[in-house]
């Protein structure tokens, strides 16, 4: 809002010449003039609390003639409307358009704050009559390999009043691998939560999947196999629950064409599940096995 006056003056082509040496600027071109009008109308709507109209007019002004202040004010309105992902984009646009902005640090801090605003995930399965529904009351729910919910946790109804029961999890913005492991089965899904967003993530699984091992990862390119002869992606044990001989065991990990350090597992034989999540620390492909961070759990189930 602080930029409104200055910008209106600029967009209107206001002359600041001294009286003794008249140097009038030319009239603003039609685009600058139209953008100025849209900006002014947006400003008025914003002051009047009509944020939806203000946003549309700021976006119109920017589309006619881009200006850093328009980008800033767009972001400010988007922030107040709770559209945090859009607000981040607008503030970045502002910084891109005014690299020497005096308030750069403050805007960067604001972007960081918005980008880390927690959102929430409502994890639910289908109705019990559905073949692929999971009984969440008996389940471990894992997010990116971390146990988010243990068996016995009560389920709740979604805030929006939907019929299905589930569990609500507060999470930082990001893409998550969501997994559910019960005594009977295993299900996996991926869910994306934006800053401040509330998302429903539906998960299902076959009624029965046997096995004492579950391997997971945040990268589908990773291959985890039990034998070096298994080289196809179809052979990979990632996102699978499978049988494996009890006791200490080593599984092979391959990252594209590269060998990774093996995954050591202690496979139980009493109905528990050995779970491992292989997180790839470096982004994208690399000319080597990327740095891996492995989280392991023993998921205990009452016999």
């Amino acid at each position: 809002m602080k930029r409104a006056f200055i910008l209106l003056m600029m967009l209107a082509g206001a002359a600041t010449a001294k009286p003794e040496a008249a140097k009038r600027k030319a009239a603003p071109d039609k685009f600058v003039k139209a953008a100025g009008e849209a900006f002014g109308a947006a400003f008025t709507a914003d002051q009047g609390g009509d944020l939806v109209t203000a946003l549309a007019l700021y976006e119109k002004a920017f589309a006619i003639s881009p200006h850093p202040s328009t980008a800033y004010n767009t972001g400010d309105v988007q922030r107040r409307l709770g559209k945090l992902t859009d607000a981040i984009r607008s503030f970045e646009l502002y910084l891109a358009l005014s690299p020497d902005a005096a308030d750069r640090k403050a805007v960067e801090a604001l972007i960081d704050q918005l980008a880390t605003t927690p959102g929430s995930l409502f994890v639910m399965s289908g109705p019990p009559s559905n073949l692929r529904s999971i009984d969440l009351k008996t389940a471990y729910v894992l997010l990116d390999g971390k146990i988010a919910v243990k068996p016995g946790t009560p389920t709740t109804t979604a805030v929006d009043g939907g019929p299905n029961l589930g569990v609500e999890l507060e999470v930082l913005p990001g893409r998550y691998v969501l997994e559910v492991v019960t005594p009977l089965t295993y299900g996996m899904s991926t869910c994306v939560v934006g800053p401040g967003e509330r998302r429903v993530c539906l998960i299902g699984a076959p009624p029965r999947l046997d096995g004492a091992v579950v391997i997971s990862s945040d990268d589908r390119n990773l291959l985890v196999v039990a034998d070096r002869a298994e080289k196809r992606h179809a052979d990979s044990r990632v996102y699978k629950r499978f049988e494996h001989p009890p006791g200490r065991s080593r599984l092979l990990i391959r990252d594209h064409d590269y060998e990774c350090p093996p995954l050591a597992l202690d496979v139980p034989k009493n109905g528990d599940v050995a779970y491992a999540f292989v997180r790839v620390v470096e982004p994208g492909s690399r000319p080597r096995c990327r740095t891996l961070d492995i989280t392991k759990h023993r998921l205990r189930f009452d016999p």
Binding site: L93, L252, P261, P283, R286, P287, R288, L292
Partner: protein, 282 residues
């Protein structure tokens, strides 16, 4: 993986005075759009910046690539910078050069030329790995660590040996300045408690019998515990004797055969055998 990190860090320490020899680790440096961007291009540019800042440089590369036809210097520079950080070095150099061509009076020309030179002259890196778990890797007779291993190499030919619980592979590889070499030491089934490996250029080969014992070069074989002395023979020369000890137990004896530094390896020169005990992970 800790081994890899340790090797990489060790390499960095050795070159403390020089710039970090791994260009992908240099910090990100992005330029703002200066002028001439359409609204649509600006939005794409910002999408690239957001992806890059969020730790998705490959996505940023894709976003910048969609803008390169516009020829804006900032796009070319930022694309080069992102490509460098994802280790696509030849492409990074290509776009640094395109940036300089698009902005002949670039105020940072010297710095960009220095970046190009440092990427082109970065030390050779060898990525050594294989197929079976719990193997160890030796390069030029020295234990590097468990497989896989990443090491800063020196230009020229080298010998890699990969020893697994049931495997052995001997392979020559070559290192070049400004290149990363993937040395894929594929699985070759082998059992035994002795390996006689040779340095690059040693033109000895095959097997021979000496005092009732059969010895093999560059193979894994079994010998009972004891002290062994034998002539190492080439096709045409009988070289000097080498000696090594095979102790009791499950450990593997690795003997690396070389000549003195600076000697011409093509002919039979006094051989030096260095013995070490390899304890494979269990």
């Amino acid at each position: 993986m800790k081994w890899i990190v340790a090797c990489v860090l060790a390499g960095t320490t050795l070159a403390a005075a020089a710039p970090d020899p791994f260009p992908y680790r240099w910090p990100a440096k992005r330029k703002p759009p200066i002028e001439g961007y359409s609204v649509e291009s600006l939005r794409k540019f910002v999408d690239a910046v957001i992806a890059d800042k969020a730790g998705r440089p490959h996505e940023a590369v894709g976003d910048y690539r969609r803008l390169v036809d516009d020829g804006h210097p900032s796009t070319l520079y930022n694309l080069a910078d992102a490509l460098r950080r994802v280790e696509y070095y030849p492409q990074a150099i290509e776009f640094y050069r395109k940036y300089l061509a698009a902005l002949p009076d670039a105020p940072d020309r010297k710095e960009v030329e220095r970046i190009i030179e440092q990427i082109e002259k970065r030390p050779p890196i060898a990525v050594l790995d294989g197929e079976d778990p719990d193997a160890v890797i030796l390069v030029d007779g020295k234990l590097v660590g468990p497989s896989p291993a990443i090491m800063m190499s020196t230009p020229g030919p080298h010998i890699a040996d990969r020893i697994g619980p049931t495997s052995y592979r001997h392979q020559i590889f070559s290192s070049l300045v400004g290149h990363t070499e993937h040395v894929d030491l594929k699985y070759e089934a082998a059992q035994g408690n002795v390996i006689l490996s040779t340095a690059w250029g040693i033109q000895l080969q095959g097997s021979w019998e000496d005092s009732g014992t059969t010895f093999h070069l560059r193979k894994r074989f079994t010998l009972p515990p004891g002290r062994y002395e034998t002539f190492v023979k080439s096709k045409t020369h009988a070289c000097n004797k080498i000696a090594f000890d095979v102790p009791k137990g499950d450990d593997l004896i690795y003997v690396y055969i070389d000549v003195k530094p600076g000697e011409d390896k093509r002919f039979c020169k006094p051989l030096i055998a260095t013995q070490q005990t390899i304890r494979l992970p269990r």
